[in-house]
C-alpha cells in the first residue's frame, strides 16, 4: 500500500528542519513563455517527503520545461521554487544540486570512455585535489547500490554498459550527491519491461528512505503502477491532480488529452499477394544490435506483420536492410516476384517501400531544414518537384501544405525549421511523406515511441488505413501491447533469428515473452 498515512508517519523523523508539513518542494505560480507559446501557465504544486508524484502529459504539455525551471536550466518568467523551506535562486543548477535536487535526464549525460566510479565522482571533489579517493568513493557507491537495488560494478567502463545500467549510474550519481528529491524524465522510455520493473522496485526503496520523487511520463500504466499522486498537464496548464489509488487509466487519459479516445478497431485481414520476401538473408551487425542470421520473411498485402522482441536482437539490422541502408551479405530480397540485385535507400523507395525510421530526429528528419525541404527529401528528384536539375519550390511548398492539412500537423508555416516541431507533429510529417505516394510496403519501426496518446492513435489509424488499401506492413515495436493490438501475424525476433509466425491470438502473451527471452518452442 502506498497510502498517505504511511507518508505522514515518515515525516516525524524528517532530516530537514526547514520542511513544514513534510513538504520538501513547493512550486508557486510558475509561468514560462517562449515567444507566443505559453509552455507553463501559473503552475503550483507541492511535493511531500517520501512521495512519488507522477507528472503526466502529452508531448509538448510542458512537463520537461517545468522540470528544467525547477532544476535551474530555464528561468521562469513568473513564480518561485522553494526547496526544504528555502527559496531557490532562479536559473542556478548549482543551487538546485546543493539543495538536494537530482535530475536524471531522458538522454544520459555520462562520459562513455570513463568508468562508473569516475562518472559518479566527477565534479564532486575540489579541483586542486590531484587524486580521487577511489577506495572511499567505491565503498560509498557499493553501499548505495546495495541499499537501493542498483546493481553496478563501479570499475566498469560506461561504454560497455546497457541502457538500463547507464540509467542506474545516473541515479547513483544523484544519490552520491545526497539528492533528497529525484526528478526522472521519461525514465522508462529506454528500458525493457524487466528493467522497468527493477526501476520501480528501486523507486520504492528510495521513498522508503524518505526521498521524494517526481516521475515524468506519458505512459498511463506506468504512472498507475509507480506513483502515489498524479499531476496532469495539458497545453501548459495543470488540469488535474488525483491520488493514484482513487483514479483510473481512462480518467487520466481523458484529462491528458481533453477527450475520450476510442481504441482502434481492427477488421479481420484478407491477406493478399506477397509484396516483399526475404529468403535466408544474413547481414552484418547493425545499430548496436545483433546481425541477421538467415532470416526468411514474407510480407503480404493487406496484412500487418508485427515484430516483437527485446531491443538489440536484430530488429535494427532488419529495419536497415528493408530501408535500404544496409546490404545483405547473403540470401535474396524479392519485391513482388522480382529478385533485387542492387540495394540502396533509393532502390527501396523506387520499389514502393515506405520507411518510418526509429529515430525521427537523427534519421527521419533534417532538423535545421524547413518542413517543405523535409517532406520532399525522398522524392525531390521526381518530375513533380524538379525539372532539369532545378527544384520547383512552389510545388514543394504546395505538397508541404497538403501534408500539413491532411495529416493535421501543427506547425507555424511550411518554412519553419522542423526542429521546432514536437515529436508527434514531426512523426505526422514523416507519416505523410511516407504514405502519400501510396506505398505497397510499409516499414514502421517504433512508429509511436515517445508519442502521446493522441498521436499514437493517429499513427495506428493511418497504418490501418494503409492496410485496408492493400499495403503490406511490417510493424517493429518494443511495445507488446501495440503489437498485439494491430498485428494480423506476429513474429518474435531473438538473437538475429525469427520465430515461426503466429496468427492474431494464437500465442499467449506469456508464450511470446518466452520467445522474446530466447527460449525456442518445443518442436519448433
Amino acid at each position: 500500500m502506498r497510502g498517505s498515512a504511511d507518508v505522514e508517519e515518515k515525516n516525524q523523523n524528517g532530516r530537514y528542519d526547514g520542511a513544514e508539513d513534510g513538504i520538501v518542494l513547493r512550486l508557486t505560480g510558475i509561468t514560462k513563455r517562449f515567444g507566443p507559446l505559453v509552455a507553463n501557465d501559473a503552475i503550483s504544486f507541492d511535493l511531500k517527503r517520501g512521495e512519488v508524484v507522477a507528472l503526466l502529459g502529452e508531448n509538448g504539455a510542458g512537463k520537461t520545461t517545468l522540470m528544467n525551471i525547477l532544476f535551474g536550466h530555464y528561468v521562469a518568467d513568473e513564480g518561485s521554487v522553494e526547496a526544504f523551506g528555502k527559496a531557490l535562486p532562479p536559473g542556478d543548477p548549482r543551487a538546485a544540486l546543493d539543495a538536494g535536487i537530482g535530475m536524471v535526464h531522458q538522454h544520459f549525460t555520462l562520459a562513455e570512455n570513463m568508468t562508473v566510479l569516475e562518472n559518479i565522482a566527477l565534479g564532486t571533489q575540489a579541483m586542486w585535489r590531484a587524486r580521487l579517493d577511489r577506495g572511499a568513493a567505491a565503498r560509498r557507491i557499493r553501499k548505495l547500490s546495495g541499499d537501493f537495488g542498483l546493481a553496478i560494478d563501479p570499475g566498469a567502463v560506461v561504454a560497455a554498459l546497457s541502457v538500463g545500467e547507464r540509467q542506474r549510474v545516473e541515479i547513483l550519481k544523484a544519490l552520491y550527491r545526497d539528492a533528497r528529491i529525484l526528478i526522472l524524465d521519461e525514465p522508462t522510455a529506454v528500458l525493457t519491461p524487466a528493467e522497468t520493473e527493477a526501476l520501480f522496485r528501486t523507486l520504492k526503496l528510495l521513498v522508503a528512505q524518505g526521498l521524494s520523487i517526481i516521475f515524468i511520463s506519458h505512459k498511463l500504466h506506468e504512472v498507475m503502477a509507480a506513483s502515489d499522486r498524479v499531476l496532469v498537464l495539458r497545453a501548459g496548464h495543470l488540469v488535474g491532480e488525483r491520488r493514484t489509488a482513487e483514479t483510473s487509466r481512462s480518467e487520466l487519459a481523458a484529462l491528458m488529452v481533453g477527450q475520450e479516445i476510442a481504441p482502434a478497431t481492427v477488421a479481420p485481414a484478407k491477406a493478399g499477394p506477397p509484396l516483399l520476401e526475404l529468403a535466408n538473408v544474413s547481414t552484418r551487425a547493425g545499430g548496436g544490435g545483433a546481425a541477421l542470421d538467415e532470416v526468411s520473411l514474407t510480407l503480404r498485402g493487406g496484412e500487418i506483420t508485427g515484430l516483437a522482441g527485446v531491443s538489440g536482437n536484430g530488429q535494427a539490422a532488419l529495419a536497415a536492410l528493408i530501408a535500404g541502408t544496409m546490404q545483405p551479405l547473403g540470401g535474396d530480397i524479392a519485391i513482388g516476384s522480382a529478385t533485387v540485385k542492387e540495394w540502396s535507400p533509393r532502390r527501396a523507395l523506387a520499389s514502393g517501400i515506405a520507411r518510418i525510421p526509429e529515430d525521427r530526429h537523427a534519421v527521419g528528419t533534417i532538423g535545421d531544414m524547413s518542413v517543405t525541404e523535409n517532406v520532399i527529401s525522398e522524392r525531390y528528384r521526381s518530375a513533380r518537384f524538379s525539372r532539369l536539375g532545378f527544384l520547383d519550390w512552389r510545388a514543394a511548398r504546395g505538397f508541404a501544405e497538403e501534408i500539413i492539412a491532411d495529416y493535421d500537423v501543427k506547425c507555424p508555416s511550411p518554412e519553419a525549421r522542423i526542429r521546432l516541431l514536437s515529436g508527434g507533429n514531426m512523426q505526422k510529417l514523416i507519416l505523410g511523406r511516407a504514405l502519400d505516394p501510396e506505398p505497397s510496403v510499409i516499414l514502421a519501426n517504433q512508429p509511436t515511441r515517445g508519442l502521446d496518446v493522441g498521436a499514437v492513435s493517429y499513427v495506428h489509424k493511418k497504418l490501418l488505413e494503409a492496410r485496408a488499401r492493400g499495403a503490406a506492413i511490417l510493424l517493429i515495436s518494443e511495445d507488446l501491447e501495440e503489437i498485439l493490438a494491430l498485428s494480423d501475424r506476429i513474429l518474435v525476433m531473438s538473437k538475429g533469428r525469427l520465430s515461426t509466425p503466429s496468427a492474431r491470438g494464437e500465442r499467449t502473451v506469456r508464450e511470446l515473452g518466452e520467445l522474446m527471452a530466447g527460449h525456442a518452442e518445443a518442436g519448433a
Binding site: 517562449f34 527529401s377 525549421r417
Partner: protein, 349 residues
C-alpha cells in the same frame, strides 16, 4: 553562463549579426591601436579613407576583393556541405599554374576562346586537387581539414619547384618567376589605366551562379541536406558521397578561378607571392557572409577594404599594417560568436 536554444530570428535581425560582429571587432582592435600609441578614431578614419576615400582607393579595394570573392565562394560552398576545405590557397596556386602553362603561348587561340579554355582548365585542376581529399574522406574517413591544409604547403613547394625549373622565365634575371602570359590570355582592365580588371565581373557572375545553385537546384538542396544531417540525407536516398564529390569539384574549381584571375587579370605572371593568404582569408569572408554566396561579395569587399585601408593608414599613422590581420582575425571570432548567439540565447546564471 549557459546556452538555451531559440527559434530562428527573422531575416532583418540575422542581417544585424555581421554588423554587430564588425562593431565588436572595432572595439577590440581599438585597444590594440591604443597600445600602439595612436588614437583609434583617427586610425579607423584613415583605414576607411584608405579603403574608399578616393576613386583610386575604392578601385584598389575592389581589385583586392576579386580573389577573395572566389575563395570566399569556394569555402562557402564546401562548408555548406560540411566539407571543410582549408585548401583554397593550394587550389588558387594550381589555377595560377594552369593559367601560365596554357597562357604563355602554348595555345594559338584568339582571346575570346583562349580565356574560357584557360578558365575551364584552371577550374578542372583546382577541382581535381580537392577531389583527392574528398575521396580520402568518403572512402577511408581521412579528415579533410588535415589533408587540405597540408596540401597548401605541398602545392606551394611544388610551385616553387616549377618556378625554379620548367616554368622559370629565362629572361627573369634568375628570379623565381614565370614568363608573362600573352596578350590574348589577359583579362582586360575595366577602366583603362586602372588596375581593376574583368576578373571582378567574373567573380560577381560566379557569386550569382553559386547563389542560384544553392537556392534553386537539386544539387544545392542535396549539399545543404548533407551538410545539416548526413545520416538523415542518406536515409532519404540522397547519395551523400557523390554529393560530397560534386561539392569538392565546385569548391576547388571556384578557388582555382582566384589564381586564374590574379595571374590573367592583374599580375601577368606567376610568382611565389601570388597570394598573400587569399585562400585562408576566404574562410573569414565566407563566415562573415554566413555562407551566403551574395553575402560573400559584400564581406570580400569589406575584408579587402581593411587590408587596403590598413596599408594606407600605416603610412600616415605609423601603426603597423599588421593591424589589418588582427582586425580580420578578430572579425572571424566575433562573427562565429554572433552566429552562435543567433541560435542560442545566453543566460548568466
Amino acid at each position: 553562463m549557459r546556452l538555451e536554444p531559440k527559434p530562428t530570428p527573422p531575416l532583418g535581425v540575422t542581417l544585424l549579426f555581421p554588423v554587430a560582429a564588425i562593431a565588436a571587432t572595432l572595439v577590440i582592435t581599438s585597444l590594440l591601436v591604443l597600445a600602439a600609441g595612436a588614437s583609434p578614431f583617427s586610425v579607423f578614419y584613415l583605414v576607411a579613407r584608405g579603403a574608399a576615400g578616393t576613386q583610386f582607393a575604392a578601385l584598389e579595394t575592389l581589385t583586392r576583393a576579386t580573389p577573395l570573392i572566389f575563395t570566399g565562394l569556394a569555402v562557402a560552398v564546401a562548408f555548406r556541405a560540411k566539407l571543410w576545405n582549408i585548401g583554397a590557397e593550394a587550389q588558387l596556386y594550381i589555377g595560377g599554374v594552369v593559367t601560365i602553362v596554357l597562357g604563355t603561348g602554348a595555345l594559338p587561340l584568339p582571346s575570346f576562346l583562349l580565356i574560357p579554355v584557360i578558365m575551364l582548365a584552371a577550374m578542372a585542376a583546382g577541382a581535381l586537387l580537392l577531389l583527392g581529399p574528398a575521396v580520402l574522406k568518403t572512402r577511408f574517413g581521412v579528415d579533410e581539414v588535415v589533408t587540405t591544409l597540408l596540401l597548401n604547403f605541398i602545392v606551394l613547394l611544388f610551385v616553387s619547384m616549377l618556378l625554379e625549373g620548367p616554368l622559370k622565365d629565362p629572361m627573369g634575371l634568375g628570379w623565381p618567376q614565370s614568363q608573362r602570359v600573352v596578350a590574348e590570355a589577359q583579362l582586360p582592365r575595366i577602366i583603362q589605366g586602372k588596375r581593376l580588371h574583368y576578373g571582378f565581373v567574373i567573380a560577381l557572375c560566379a557569386a550569382a551562379i553559386v547563389w542560384v545553385i544553392m537556392k534553386k537546384t537539386v544539387l544545392g538542396y542535396e549539399m545543404r541536406a548533407v551538410g545539416h544531417n548526413a545520416e538523415a540525407a542518406s536515409f532519404a536516398g540522397i547519395p551523400v558521397n557523390r554529393v560530397l564529390m560534386k561539392t569538392a569539384l565546385l569548391s576547388g574549381g571556384l578557388a582555382a578561378l582566384a589564381g586564374f584571375s590574379e595571374v590573367s587579370g592583374l599580375k601577368g605572371n606567376l610568382t611565389l607571392d601570388l597570394s598573400p593568404g587569399y585562400g585562408y582569408s576566404g574562410i573569414v569572408v565566407a563566415m562573415l557572409a554566413m555562407l551566403n554566396p551574395l553575402g560573400v561579395v559584400a564581406s570580400a569587399i569589406f575584408v579587402a577594404g581593411i587590408f587596403v585601408g590598413a596599408d594606407a593608414m600605416s603610412r600616415t599613422a605609423g601603426v603597423p599594417s599588421y593591424i589589418a590581420d588582427v582586425m580580420v582575425a578578430t572579425a572571424l571570432l566575433t562573427m562565429v560568436t554572433a552566429i552562435l548567439m543567433s541560435r542560442y540565447r545566453m543566460r548568466w546564471r
